[in-house]
Symmetry: C2
Subunit: 186 residues, 2 copies
DNA sequence: CCGCTCATGTAACTGGTTACATGATTTA
DNA sequence: TAAATCATGTAACCAGTTACATGAGCGG
């Protein structure tokens, strides 16, 4: 019982298993694979060893179930797992949680000066279009009535606010460069 | 000449060396150490091997300089380095750049339901306070007249917009939980 | 002279990624 | 029956982290 700190992704897996009932490792993978926030790849090489780790530490337990004719291992947090999760959530919040979250687009704007003027404009135009596509996905996720509870809705709302502020940001960049942005397809 | 893709941090180092003139590895470290966006630690174990890598690939070159009586290695991008940087910036923008950037605070809100009501409120109150502190730092960085050029200012503005949208987000969460947020100290 | 900043590294670790591999079941 | 999805893994790799280590120069 080392009581080490959970990594970000470990806590997510643990919390998913807690929030969305017993889940197979595969189901957990899908959450990451389909998430509008592409923070982790959700690859097998990430999830299965992680599940193993949590199992061996007694933070989750697994139970075989039979869906139709197929067998699968479903995973759910133990009491110790829930305690660990609560510890992870507990105050105080570290600087890196409260501070400015990284944004690869912002990074690129920071160094946009390496490109000649024309390519700068092309970059911004393109970024705008890509953002609109992503924004649509987030809006859809936000509006879809999810049965995942009020906190899921809040998170989706947070993602939407984040995307909107990035749009405002890009508009300011475009304005500074004299780029006319295309309207999103209605 | 493998022409492999630059990692995010490699591109940042290369771009910093390009934007802010010849820099010592130590000076580059400081940029990361002091950045209001704590994306990378800026530890020696990250920066020095990275510089070695870029040197061995011919993307940067180093020159000894003498500041007073001390000697140091300053680094600046080669022509190949600038080309690599331009390639890195070039369109098209991938989904992970355009998509919703990760936010550890949002993640925690997603799973806030693990905590009892009282601790939920405490979490939000505390997060709010921590955010105000971070917000002040970003505002200061945004207002300080930096000689780092217009794109630095745009980036700082982007960071500010990001933080403000997170404040709006937290306010909505607080409202949903019936938490009264303390006003930031004026 | 003490402590801080400048300056440069190394070593062990760890955790997440890609890519590979397999096989059952469902759906078009 | 072919393709997609469900389901579970493994292995090599790599990059970033922490911690350790050293030493010079400068300001109080």
């Amino acid at each position: 019982m080392t009581k080490r700190m959970l990594s970000e992704i470990e806590a997510c897996v643990l919390a998913l298993a807690w929030a969305d009932g017993p889940l197979t490792a595969y189901a957990i993978r899908k959450v990451f694979l389909k998430s509008p926030t592409p923070q982790w790849s959700g690859s097998a090489g990430t999830v299965y060893p992680l599940i193993e780790r949590l199992l061996s530490e007694g933070l989750i337990r697994s139970k075989a179930i039979a869906t139709g004719k197929r067998e699968a291992q479903q995973v759910s947090p133990t009491a110790a797992g829930i305690r660990a999760l609560k510890r992870w959530m507990a105050i105080p919040i570290s600087d890196w949680v409260a501070g400015v979250p990284p944004d690869p687009l912002r990074t690129r704007i920071r160094f946009l000066a390496v490109l000649p003027k024309g390519e700068q404009r092309a970059f911004v135009s393109n970024a705008w279009l890509q953002m609109q596509i992503q924004l649509l996905a987030v809006e859809k996720d936000c509006e879809t009535p999810n049965a995942a509870g009020p906190f899921y809705d809040l998170m989706a709302r947070g993602a939407l606010l984040s995307m909107r502020s990035r749009c405002v940001f890009l508009k300011e960049v475009a304005h500074a460069l004299g780029v006319a942005l295309e309207l999103p397809p209605t």
